[in-house]
């Protein structure tokens, strides 16, 4: 790597990660002033643990993320299977576009339209609407991740299973599912983090008693930033990083089943 490349790479990384680094560093600040360094301390993590409303919000977030990711994974996988297996059916292109479109839709639009739908249906806003909304958000991503894996799957493996007497259900359960399992796990984790991170859609569709962690953090920041927010954010960043790394490990892992000949 030339010195010039080294410098531009360094600047690029600094641009991306300096704000997060500052956040992490100041979460260990002993002082209660956010911008003044008062020595190293973990006191704000202690405060965090005893902050009841914040912990409750975190639990809501985890619950919503887990359930929304589960729903998104099931529906997204079915969509991916339909797109991969049905050959050229009428409206296939339109269906593909419709599955992928929500990924690039502005979240404000998604949030607003879901809100209108829920109001129209007379659904009370709360945990359920939040889970439905986040499942919608994650579905497209799941379809992309699982679809890529299905495309790389050697179809003769499924044919071999059918040839050996397995009906369609047994073929799926004993051959297809085990071979795409890593991508299902990765897709689940991706949908999980998308739900965990979301503030915009949640603001539209959530109701009383269903405050997520990002919503809670945002409302506290409006009253002024304190080091406790930094500590909570640091934990969130750490958790999301861990999940994303796991997901990329699962999808990137070479597998004999994915290669065709």
């Amino acid at each position: 790597m030339s010195p010039l490349n080294r410098i531009s790479l360094g600047l690029g990384l600094a641009f991306l990660y300096a704000p997060i680094a500052v956040l992490v560093v100041f979460s260990f600040n002993a002082s209660s002033l956010v911008t003044v360094w008062g020595g190293f301390s973990t006191r704000w993590y202690g405060v965090l643990v005893n902050d009841g409303p914040l912990i409750a919000a975190a639990l809501v977030s985890l619950k919503v993320a887990a359930l929304a990711a589960l729903v998104a994974t099931v529906l997204g996988t079915l969509a991916a299977l339909a797109l991969d297996r049905s050959g050229r059916f009428t409206g296939r292109g339109a269906f593909t576009g419709l599955v992928y479109a929500p990924m690039v839709m502005p979240e404000v639009i998604t949030g607003l339209s879901l809100l209108l739908l829920f109001v129209g249906l007379g659904l009370d806003r709360g945990l359920v609407t939040l889970i439905i909304a986040h499942a919608t958000l994650g579905l497209g991503f799941v379809a992309v991740v699982v679809g890529a894996r299905l495309k790389g799957l050697d179809r003769s493996l499924e044919e071999a299973a059918a040839d050996l007497g397995a009906g369609p259900l047994r073929v799926f359960a004993t051959v297809t599912l085990p071979l795409i399992a890593p991508s299902l796990a990765a897709a689940f984790l991706l949908a999980f983090t998308l739900s965990l991170d979301d503030l915009v859609i949640a603001s539209f569709v959530s109701g009383p008693g269903a405050t997520t962690l990002p919503m809670r953090l945002y409302s506290q920041v409006r009253l002024g930033v304190n080091p406790e927010i930094n500590a909570a954010s640091t934990l969130l960043v750490g958790g999301v990083t861990l999940v994303v790394l796991t997901a990329s490990f699962l999808t990137g892992r070479p597998s004999a089943g994915a290669q065709g000949t």
């Binding site: 299973a161 040839d163 050996l164 007497g165 071979l179 000949t261």
Partner: protein, 351 residues
């Protein structure tokens, strides 16, 4: 004997392209039939039709008195060995082989797997993962798995295609030995003429979706029905001419090299253009006596191959003929030469 497998006017169309066009054939049980042809000739599609992975556009498939035509792959009493082997990467060798044995009890299935591991000489490999095996070992696992359910017929798609040349010849022998021992009918798809010659009881040559000729290897080699079959199975001289008359099984053809008498079962009528197909090794330099045909020319090039000599002869009309002669025929370049061949060494076909 009633045929075991009967294909009747089988057709498969993809869009406007006929992958398999109007193929009919009968096959007795216990036979090795090789489907031979260039890639894209429809031989693999024909195999997939019999296995049930493709639904025919027209025609029918009967095996051992049962109509298979509309049956799903998992309900057909045939098994297939895939070109890529298609071993399940997440299952051990033993569980790959035992995948189709769900109907048996656990003990019976395990005994059957052991028996098959012995058959393909892979005892002790049962717990290995397929990816830890060599290409030849994987090929044998695929064979064992395909034989596990004792299919009425085994379909093999380029079974030796992924192996090295040396291993391929050895495996040909093993495959034939296993087939003879079990007596299962084999249909083997291959693009390699020498492999088809070595393995087959009968060869079916396919071209552009059609079954062009089917018969014993020596029949196809000595009596090809057209220039495609003649050229596919080995080097051949094709001498153009016009049919003059028939003399029993023999046909007289007027060519630029003089009149030629040759076997002509499928020869066109008198006056029609025809080709005389003549294998280089059926020519000799011995004097033309009796009704042997004689062709005159000059040696243009000669290649010494140890056990034989390959000659290129410039004929009187300027065309060239290739001849393969026993070593020691000692012909110098430029020397005049008279080649001769018996009438039953050549075949007349439509041009």
């Amino acid at each position: 004997m009633a045929p075991f497998l009967t294909l009747e006017r089988l057709t498969k169309t993809f869009g406007t392209h006929d992958a398999v066009a109007d193929v009919s054939l009968d096959m007795p049980s216990g036979e090795i039939l090789c489907l031979l042809g260039p890639s894209g000739c429809g031989k693999s599609t024909l195999l997939r039709l019999i296995a049930g992975f493709e639904a025919p556009t027209g025609g029918s498939i009967h095996l051992d008195g049962t109509d298979l035509t509309g049956l799903a792959p998992h309900r057909r009493p045939v098994n297939m060995m895939f070109q890529s082997y298609a071993l399940f990467p997440h299952l051990s060798v033993a569980r790959n082989i035992g995948y189709g044995l769900k109907g048996l009890g656990r003990a019976a299935a395990s005994a059957r797997v052991d028996e098959l591991l012995r058959l393909v000489r892979l005892e002790g490999f049962g717990n290995r993962a397929p990816e830890t095996l060599s290409g030849g070992q994987r090929q044998r696992v695929a064979l064992a798995r395909a034989l596990a359910r004792e299919p009425k017929m085994l379909l093999l798609d380029e079974p030796l295609g992924a192996l090295d040349r040396g291993l391929r010849e050895q495996t040909q022998g093993e495959l034939r030995a296993i087939q003879r021992r079990l007596g299962t009918a084999f249909i083997i798809v291959t693009h390699d003429p020498s492999e088809a010659m070595a393995l087959a009881d009968r060869i079916g040559v396919m071209d552009k979706g059609r079954l062009v000729q089917i018969g014993r290897p020596e029949t196809l080699y000595e009596r090809p029905v057209n220039r495609f079959v003649a050229g596919l199975l080995g080097d051949v001289n094709l001498i153009p001419g016009t049919v003059r008359d028939a003399d029993g099984a023999l046909v007289r053809v007027e060519t630029a090299l003089g009149p030629v008498l040759a076997l002509g079962e499928g020869a066109p009528a008198a006056g029609a253009p025809a080709l005389v197909a003549l294998r280089p090794e059926r020519l000799s330099t011995s004097s033309a006596d009796g009704d042997r045909n004689a062709l005159d020319g000059h040696v243009e090039a000669s290649t010494y191959l140890g056990d034989r000599i390959r000659l290129q002869i410039r004929m009187v009309d300027g065309s060239t003929i290739r001849a393969t002669l026993p070593a020691g025929a000692g012909l110098a370049s430029g020397a005049p030469v008279r080649l001769s061949f018996a009438p039953d060494a050549a075949t007349v076909m439509a041009a």
